[in-house]
């Protein structure tokens, strides 16, 4: 097959450029519209980053507003920096984003691996399948629904308060979602509740790929189940774990914003507002578009640096890399 493809390519390189274009006209017809689409909807917004160096005001047409806007250099970035130094709202949003991401990195990353290992140890096929099916379910509901459920569960009349009260663990019912100090934990728990099973799939797939012969020889050596997990399964799925870890590092600064937006409130603002929510509230809510763009740009650049950095470290330590 490879040889054939090569000969076809050779034949094509002999043809002149317009001739090749004509020969592949259908392929071009099938792809160029999407190329235009991706340029317009994904790359044009990147050019829109230049708005961060303007005082963009939306008056009628977006393009006209863009060309009419005043250029102000790095004014908005200076404002962001000053905000960090004076520990203002941007500082809080950045801290909350990194804080919640960090919680997710630690707890949200380890739990699916443990869960996958446990599922793999279930002997009854039937129970295994049921557990898996149920654990994937929350992944498919929207954050709107999930947030609704979570706020019912955590309300003062809700089941969790009731349970804690009946167990005698609390004296007075706690309005959990109004406790700013608990917000990061609640977000992490919500995310794990929703995505645990789903995030475990990739590790389960990796575990099924482990050579059964390794377990057989471990059996002969008298290894117990925990030892087999520790000395065979974990090392064998390490490449997958590394790849997922690198990807998670890249997402360190993008924890998502839906759950924070839906479950956060003015009471918990100091701990619930993340960068995206801040950008939406200020950038769009108060029409400070340039400032909002600067926040988005900051976020993307940090994210790229993180992913490249993590990748570099992984490559240095001899594990797999993704870029």
């Amino acid at each position: 097959m490879e040889k054939n493809a090569k000969s076809k390519r050779l034949r094509l390189t002999k043809a002149s450029f317009p001739e090749r274009l004509y020969r592949q006209r259908y392929l071009l017809l099938m792809s160029v519209p999407f190329l235009i689409w991706v340029l317009l909807f994904n790359y044009l917004p990147l050019l829109g980053w230049t708005m961060a160096f303007q005082d963009f005001k939306l008056k009628g047409d977006v393009f006209q507003s863009f060309f009419a806007a005043d250029w102000v250099g790095i004014k908005h970035f200076v404002a962001l920096l000053e905000d960090i130094l004076s520990k203002g709202r941007f500082y809080l949003a950045l801290r909350n984003t990194l804080g919640m991401s960090f919680y997710m990195m630690v707890f949200g990353f380890v739990t699916p691996i443990i869960f996958a290992l446990m599922i793999n140890e279930i002997r009854s096929m039937y129970f295994k399948r049921i557990t898996q099916t149920i654990s994937y379910l929350p992944h498919f509901i929207s954050w709107v629904v999930a947030a609704g459920m979570i706020s019912v569960m955590l309300s003062t009349e809700g089941p969790i308060n009731e349970l804690l009260e009946n167990l005698g663990l609390i004296e007075k019912r706690i309005p959990f979602l109004a406790q700013e100090k608990l917000f990061w934990g609640i977000m992490t728990f919500s995310e794990i509740w929703k995505e645990l099973g789903w995030n475990a799939i990739i590790f389960l797939a990796a575990i099924t790929g482990v050579d059964p012969g390794l377990y057989e020889s471990a059996d002969l050596d008298g290894a117990n189940r925990l030892q087999k997990i520790w000395h065979i399964t974990l090392p064998c799925i390490m490449p997958v774990i590394t790849v997922i870890l690198i990807m998670n590092v890249g997402w360190l600064i993008s924890v998502g914003f839906e759950k924070q937006m839906l479950l956060g409130s003015d009471i918990t603002r100091n701990y619930s507002e993340v960068l995206d929510v801040y950008a939406i509230k200020y950038g769009i809510g108060q029409s400070r578009y340039s400032f909002g763009t600067a926040i988005g740009m900051f976020k993307s650049v940090v994210s790229i640096i993180l992913v490249l950095g993590a990748n570099l470290i992984a490559r240095k330590t001899g594990e797999t890399s993704i870029v």
Binding site: L137, S142, M149, V152
Partner: protein, 301 residues
């Protein structure tokens, strides 16, 4: 080692017990909120306020669902959600498959360049405001098409389909080529008929995404009742109660809902039930496609 060997059966026993307990806890933690919502939705509204409902309604009634007639926007929202799921999934599937086919063709002259252009979008995000501006600039805000066009292809799904096509035997295409088939017929007649597994997976991803989105309505058509969505309406109703208990984040939405009357808990749960039901109904049937699809992608990448 020796100790491990001696105690093996005992250790095994403990381990099985631990796993069983953990799994049961996970199952309960996952299912309880769903069952609680269901029970509350079928419970008499004035009784639900007292709290303490478990997984069965205390005073069973259908009244909450009858009350939903007072929310005409829910019906409009359900209609739009249905339409966007249908049209959006079809458009996305068609586009993704077609592009994936072209990118899988080893002789395609711009293959590397086009692939790179699409893959790069996975790593860089321009942020909400620039995208918002671009979509406004094209006049898509306040139209139905804002649900379909900006997200018509997801790079992730594109890779899934492409890796599936990549592992089909290339000889099929070659023989069709010798028979004089052009690239269009090759795609529609040879490649597509072999793709149902991946089409099922990716189609379901798109469909769930469409049914579940609310943020695009919030951003691009918050006041346009003609194209409101079910998730957005549910969000407004749920946020009203938050607005009462201390200023919701989505104040704008709560305001348009004119939240002087807050829907009772049971009504809110009834709307939630309506919103999740389609997912719960199709879920058991489609679950295996999601998993095969994801594993396919995992193995490839």
């Amino acid at each position: 080692m020796r100790k491990g060997l001696q105690q093996r059966s005992k250790g095994d026993y403990i381990m099985d017990a631990v796993i069983l307990v953990v799994m049961l806890l996970v199952i309960i933690a996952t299912l309880f909120p769903f069952l609680n919502v269901l029970a509350t939705a079928f419970n008499k509204s004035s009784d639900s306020i007292k709290g303490g409902i478990g997984i069965f309604p205390r005073v069973p009634t259908l009244d909450n669902f009858k009350e939903l007639g007072r929310y005409p926007l829910l019906f409009q929202g359900a209609l739009i959600s249905f339409l966007r799921t249908l049209i959006g999934t079809a458009a996305s599937l068609f586009s993704t498959c077609m592009l994936a086919y072209v990118l899988s063709r080893r002789d395609f002259m711009f293959r590397r360049f086009f692939t790179a252009v699409f893959l790069f979008t996975m790593y860089i995000d321009s942020g909400i405001i620039p995208s918002f501006m671009v979509i406004r600039a094209f006049g898509l805000n306040n139209t139905f098409w804002v649900y379909i066009i900006p997200g018509i292809i997801s790079a992730y799904n594109l890779i899934l389909v492409r890796s599936f096509i990549d592992q089909l035997p290339y000889s099929l295409q070659e023989s069709a080529f010798l028979d004089g088939a052009n690239d269009l017929t090759m795609f529609f007649r040879i490649v597509m008929p072999l793709c149902p597994p991946v089409i099922a997976t990716v189609g379901l991803f798109y469909a769930v995404g469409q049914w579940n989105s609310w943020f695009d309505t919030y951003l691009f058509a918050p006041f346009n009742e003609q194209i409101t969505t079910l998730q957005y309406e549910l969000m407004k109703i749920l946020q009203q109660s938050q607005a009462q208990s201390g200023g919701a984040n989505l104040g704008q939405a709560a305001r348009i809902a004119q939240a002087n009357t807050i829907s009772p808990l049971s009504i809110r749960m009834a709307v939630t039930v309506i919103t999740v039901t389609p997912i719960i109904i199709v879920y058991p049937f489609v679950q295996k496609y999601f998993v095969t699809g994801l594993t396919l992608g995992a193995v490839k990448s």
